[in-house]
């Protein structure tokens, strides 16, 4: 039965319903299962926003697989002036000789992903591919081949299905568009193209 509960105040509309997300994630899982039928994929995700996608993707993969997580500091008010990226949680298992699939929730500029792939490649996996759920190619600065991509998304701030705004809305089963004019300073909305 469709969910008819009202949207949270700061969400303008649903971009991808729970059903749409589940269907696309199942397709990605099926593709990975087929491509890695003779291998054992090792999925790696970067905490935290990938956890919901990772949980669903893992369950849609029908072949033996393993999973691990990594966490890094991201650029922001608390990390400005502190040098570069820091690993705040390293992988628990070595990846040398393994068939790694890096799983990411959103890719836009590619800066974070580029940094992480550089780290992973140095650890000499047998292969390294990328699976992303939400791709924002219009913001890309670093070109990165994507073996698996769920949706090309419009240039809006998305929340839900693991994605947050100030740590809110990660739990929503759908992806919604944030009302930017409600959460950002009014002046920001002037520049909308």
């Amino acid at each position: 039965m469709p969910d008819t509960s009202p949207l949270p105040d700061l969400i303008s509309h649903v971009l991808y319903s729970e059903e749409t997300l589940q269907r696309r994630v199942a397709e990605l899982g099926a593709a990975i299962s087929a491509d890695y039928a003779t291998k054992k994929p090792h999925l790696i995700g970067v905490l935290r926003s990938v956890i919901v996608f990772m949980a669903d993707l893992m369950r849609s993969i029908t072949i033996p697989m393993t999973v691990d997580f990594i966490a890094i500091s991201s650029y922001g008010p608390s990390t400005k002036g502190q040098g570069g990226v820091r690993l705040t949680k390293d992988l628990d298992q070595p990846i040398a000789g393994r068939h790694v699939i890096f799983v990411e929730d959103v890719i836009d500029t590619g800066l974070t992903l580029s940094y992480l792939l550089h780290i992973l490649k140095a650890r000499q996996p047998a292969s390294l591919q990328v699976c992303v759920l939400f791709n924002r190619p219009q913001r890309r600065l670093i070109d990165i081949p994507l073996a698996y991509s769920g949706f090309d998304v419009p240039d809006h701030y998305l929340v839900g299905y693991g994605l947050d705004y100030q740590q809110r809305y990660r739990h929503l089963p759908y992806v919604g568009v944030l009302k930017e004019d409600k959460v950002l300073p009014h002046r920001w909305s002037r520049g909308r193209v």
Binding site: S74, Y75, G76, P77, T79, K80, G83, G84, V85, D108, T109, L111, T112, S114, Y115, H118, Q138, R139, R140, L141, I142, D143, D155, Y157, Q166, E180, L184, P185, R187, W188, R190, G191, R192, V193
Partner: protein
Amino acid sequence: MMTTEGSERQPPRFSHPAEAEFARILDFYGIPWEYEPHTFPLAWDEQGRVTEAFSPDFYLPQQGLYVELTTMQPHLVTKKNRKLRRFRELYPDVPIKLLKRRDIRGLLLKYGLEEESHVVLDNPPSGEQVKQDA
């Protein structure tokens, strides 16, 4: 293409806070960059002298990509868009990415820099208009 010798070895004097913030983001993620290292002629007079040129704000050598930033309101970017069109006509093999006001805003929001956005997007230093349209 003309080159500004040694520009990457000197601490650059950014002409806009958005450029400084963008450079800090690139530094954080270990992406090498150069600030306005190259100038591309866009027009010449009858004697072959350059009458119009364009210096993209950033060059990312590992990507071979030029990046131009603009914080101007969309209705004010006509001249810049014309320059970019001419640039792409003359140098079709040179990759360039234009980060518009909305792109910069999205980047700042992504990194939780809402307060900084006031400085970057709404309080341009004097002379910015001249520089950005140049």
